[in-house]
């Protein structure tokens, strides 16, 4: 037994290697949101679509919904877009925040790609997005009926993320009211 203490540093080295190996598999761009369980920061954005009301932080109150941050210049958003259209068809309320984008470009994007949004606001300066802690697009917030952020998805919403994570959370929120 006493002889085996000789092996302690090797065992420790093994632990360190294991920790590093696990760390390699993690995506460092996925940061936890500081807004979880907190109310949405206040914003009041002009419309993306002409003749539209735009998007206010208080707009979503009343029922759980998604707040999707997108931009016409964002490639991953185009990957995500069919899924958003699918969700709209299922009746999921989605608001869009067009981040660091020209309103005309954002509007054209919705014409070209289809429009999954209930409300859509243009955040040309990116300030509303920065208040939300947005580091890139797309990002999607699950907002409850009281206007509090409950979950954040970084990157495109895939059918797996929707079915496995967001839908169950949203169903739970609907029941809780």
């Amino acid at each position: 037994m006493k002889r085996l203490i000789f092996l302690a540093p090797i065992a420790f080295f093994g632990l360190v290697i294991a920790a590093f190996a696990l760390g390699l598999g993690r995506d460092p761009t996925i940061l936890p949101s500081t807004l979880i369980d907190k109310p949405l920061p206040v914003f009041d954005l002009p419309a993306v679509r002409s003749g539209d009301a735009g998007l206010k932080s208080s707009d979503g109150a009343g029922q759980p919904h998604l707040l999707n941050v997108f931009a016409s210049w964002c490639v991953a958003c185009r990957v995500e877009h069919p899924e958003l259209l699918q969700l709209k068809a299922q009746g999921v309320p989605i608001d869009g925040l067009d981040w660091k984008d020209e309103p005309a470009a954002g509007a054209q994007y919705l014409v070209d790609q289809g429009d999954p949004y209930r409300l859509a606001g243009n955040d040309k300066t990116g300030r509303a997005g920065i208040d939300l802690g947005v580091a890139g697009v797309p990002e999607t917030f699950l907002v409850d009926g009281h206007g509090r952020v409950r979950y954040k998805v970084i990157g495109p919403i895939s059918p797996e993320v929707w079915a496995g994570t967001i839908k169950p959370l949203m169903d739970k929120l609907r029941v809780q009211g």
Binding site: L31, G126, R127, G136
Partner: protein, 188 residues
Amino acid sequence: MSGAGVTRSAGFQPALSSAFGRTGQRRQRAGSPRSGVIAALALLVLAGPARAVLPGEQLADPKLEARARHIGAQLRCLVCQNQSIDDSDATLASDLRIILRERLMAGDSDRQAIDFVVRRYGHYVLLNPPFEPETLLLWLGPGLVLAAGGVWVALMARGRSGAVDAASPLTAEEREQLARRLDVESAS
């Protein structure tokens, strides 16, 4: 394709020899290309790191600008995560630099300006992480490893010295043998 490659490498050779080969023959002469190369390298050492802070972003007040630089160097860019917002060319980093300057202009302390960004992006943006429960392992980890290593060394050392202590002292016969050998060695 290969023909072009040959031509290029042939063109490359003289350039190399003019920089290093031929100058070797006249290295005593001052102002030779070689001393130019050395001077250029020396200047390279003096060069400071290039910051991405754009002229349009900078504040007129040099004191406030210096504070903004000091803070900007401590904040991680969310896009290029191993760069500070002062180092990064990402537009988000530029936005954060401008916001930071707005906060300072509005009278925020350094602490308040940093907290403004941390409230939005979390402690991850701090390149210098704070000491708190979440970061205990980070701060104390090296000390713990050092302590564990110390304990290990102590245990190993005690085991060894214990073995020496346990050895019985030399018998009279052994001592005589030892003395004889030492005598032989010192005589020769």
